[in-house]
């Protein structure tokens, strides 16, 4: 009977084209607006590291101003000082650990007509690729020794390798970064988690870096951060060394801890580190640190902000308004067809059969409204991309789950809209219409 009801629904829709178009448009506009906002929220709340959520932790230490807590939700600085990061790197407890920050280099190539360009870089330890499951196309990462000593090696992104070497296997070749030769040791495949969980200090929706450089090169190249650097006191030492040994926080730190025991041990290690620093006059605030899972890190950093959530609720309210309009239109349409329902009742249709028939007609309107709503959502997301000038291209796009969600939402909305009209028509007394038709 479902097929029969669908054919009746399509016939009915064709029979009242204007009314049907209005209903489909009401659902489509509601779904379109709603899905535009929900898609943005959904994409913003994605956790690219969900598969490692139980083993990865962002590290925060409270070495901040003794007189004033850090201005963050958990009152811990987002990043670590260089001296703390290098101290933590000496621990052998984590399975993997990453100290890193964002930087940039001018890229040139000897004996090449390639125009120099500035590349976004990540200064990081070798574990970065394993800890965040970054896939390699060719080669691999540098030796762990390069994390603490100056080794001029580089890992390129696929896009950079395509740009500089035309996509060739460039492992072993040399490129110049800020005029210094670096040997290519690996090329990673396309990898662009969004939001960029591993670095939410800078734009959470920025693209991944183009080149990756060992952490041990700071002193040689006097590398600062191209992201946020926050501090609360001046260093006693002058110059770059003073910066490295100062209280400025600019290093992001992640660890991989595979078991509860390992985590407990690492927490003891952090406690010991802080106590040791306290003895040296640092860390004058109460002993406090945090290990946050990627999912917790996203929440803590408020990637999906409260105003986004409010906008989500508003869009659902707008959909509700559209549904109420659809209810009125459906009621008008169904009641106009009440005589036909009366005839069907006389010919053997039960109230339930009439109810289901009309509910399926509502669902057909929902499916058509959903498909149109998806087009409107895509238009809406296109508009958002234009407004953001390419900064959030990755999140302002629908994946298949959201396409299915749009259709599901439309069908649900139309079913809700159709419930009362379908119930009304199934409960009307057929004899009224049989005599008067």
């Amino acid at each position: 009977m479902i097929g029969y009801y669908i054919s009746l629904a399509m016939r009915s829709l064709r029979g009242t084209p204007i009314l049907s178009t209005l209903m489909i448009a009401a659902i489509a506009v509601g779904v379109g607006a709603c899905m535009t906002v929900l898609t943005l929220n959904y994409m913003m709340s994605q956790n690219a590291l969900a598969h490692k959520d139980d083993v990865l932790y962002a590290v925060q230490l409270d070495g901040w101003d003794p007189n004033e807590a850090a201005d963050t939700p958990n009152e811990l600085p987002w990043q670590l000082t260089y001296q703390d990061a290098t101290a933590l790197l000496r621990s052998d407890i984590p399975t993997r650990q990453v100290a890193m920050h964002r930087f940039g280099f001018t890229v040139t190539l000897d004996e090449s007509e390639m125009r120099p360009f500035t590349a976004e870089a990540r200064i990081t330890t070798a574990d970065f690729f394993g800890l965040f499951d970054v896939p390699f196309l060719f080669g691999g990462t540098w030796d762990a020794a390069a994390d603490l000593s100056p080794v001029q090696q580089v890992v390129l992104s696929k896009a950079t390798n395509d740009k500089v070497f035309g996509g060739e296997i460039s492992v072993g070749k040399t490129i110049n970064l800020n005029g210094e030769p670096f040997t290519v040791v690996g090329i990673i495949d396309h990898w662009d988690p969004s939001p960029k969980v591993y670095d939410l200090n800078n734009s959470p929706f920025a693209e991944s870096e183009e080149i990756y450089i060992p952490f041990g090169l700071h002193r040689k190249f006097e590398i600062f951060s191209w992201g946020n650097t926050n501090g609360w006191s001046h260093s006693n030492e002058e110059g770059y060394e003073g910066f490295l040994q100062g209280e400025s926080v600019w290093i992001q730190y992640w660890v991989e801890l595979d078991s509860a025991a390992q985590k407990e041990k690492y927490e003891e290690f952090l406690t010991g580190h802080i106590r040791q620093q306290k003895e040296q006059g640092r860390f004058q605030r109460p002993l406090k640190f945090a290990l946050s899972k990627p999912s917790e890190w996203l929440v803590l950093n408020e990637v999906l902000r409260d105003d986004n959530r409010v906008l989500g609720w508003l869009s659902l309210a707008f959909l509700l308004v559209c549904v109420v309009n659809a209810v009125a239109l459906l009621l008008a349409k169904f009641l106009r067809k009440a005589p036909e329902a009366g005839v069907r009742r006389a010919l053997g249709a039960s109230r339930n059969a009439i109810f289901i028939q009309h509910l399926i007609e509502s669902s057909c309107i929902g499916v058509l409204g959903g498909l149109l709503g998806i087009l409107l959502s895509l238009l809406g997301l296109g508009g958002v991309r234009q407004l953001a000038m390419g900064k959030i291209d990755q999140i302002a796009s629908m994946d298949w789950l959201m396409v299915l969600a749009a259709i599901g939402l439309a069908v649900l909305a139309s079913l809700l809209a159709g419930l009362y009209p379908a119930w009304r028509i199934s409960r009307t007394n057929p004899s009224i219409y049989l005599k008067t038709q």
Binding site: Y4, P339, E340, V343, L347, S431, L434, K435, Q437
Partner: protein, 233 residues
């Protein structure tokens, strides 16, 4: 076949209660052709709606084929209506968007017949009413008499044992009315029990038996050519 005992039907508004049927008792035997007459508002249509399971009585007992249908739920009443009862209306009540084939298909769909069985039955009844060539026409493309023949075909497609006709010739000219009446008589001869509400005394006389309803009660019986006297409470 049909036995009603002390059936009552009343309609209530906030201020008025109207008694459409009062202590209405009637028996119709299998194979009978019964005409029902009476002034407007006497309760003829209410009787027909209750007989056709479209309305439930306020009180009394209604036995259809020996089964007490007074207390059946909507699903069972709909199933019985579909299997045992055919309707013919004054206004034909064909669904305007559906062609003749699809109109006749409606009760068969609810019966759950497969496509092959439905097609066979539809073609058969269309042939019986002489409209095989018009199967794909819409009702609006037919004359009133032809539309009523389609309605009869639709009523017959499920091979009901009981046909209820509410002024089936009321909207037809005399020639077409005669043709429809002859068709009903032919159907009755093949064994289908018919109860026909009519205002036309000539048509009423052609039935085996005439029942007159006045003020919601049976006021008179005229015995036709078959059957013995029926008990009236």
């Amino acid at each position: 076949m049909l036995k009603m005992h002390n059936i009552r039907k009343s309609y209530r508004t906030d201020t008025i209660e109207t008694h459409a049927l009062r202590d209405f008792s009637l028996q119709v035997n299998e194979g009978e052709f019964v005409s029902v007459t009476g002034p407007s508002g006497s309760g003829k249509t209410t009787f027909l709606n209750i007989a056709g399971l479209l309305e439930t009585p306020t009180g009394g007992q209604y036995l259809l084929d020996g089964e007490d249908v007074s207390s059946l739920n909507d699903r069972d009443r709909s199933r019985l209506r579909n299997e045992k009862i055919g309707f013919i209306f004054q206004g034909f009540n064909l669904i305007p968007d559906l062609n003749l084939f699809d109109n006749i298909d409606v009760p068969l769909r609810y019966r759950g017949f497969n496509a092959k069985e439905r097609k066979k039955r539809i073609e058969k009844v269309l042939e019986q009413v002489g409209l095989s060539a018009r199967a794909k026409h819409l009702p609006a493309q037919l004359s009133g008499g032809q539309q009523q023949r389609v309605a009869i075909a639709r009523a017959l497609a499920g091979e009901p044992r009981f046909l209820l006709a509410d002024e089936p010739t009321g909207n037809l000219d005399s020639l077409m009315a005669r043709q429809v009446m002859e068709l009903l008589e032919f159907i009755n001869e093949w064994g289908t029990t018919i109860v026909m509400v009519t205002h036309d005394p000539d048509l009423a006389r052609r039935a085996h038996r005439n029942i007159q309803i006045v003020d919601g009660q049976v006021s008179d019986l005229q015995h036709g050519t078959i059957g013995a006297a029926r008990e009236i409470a």
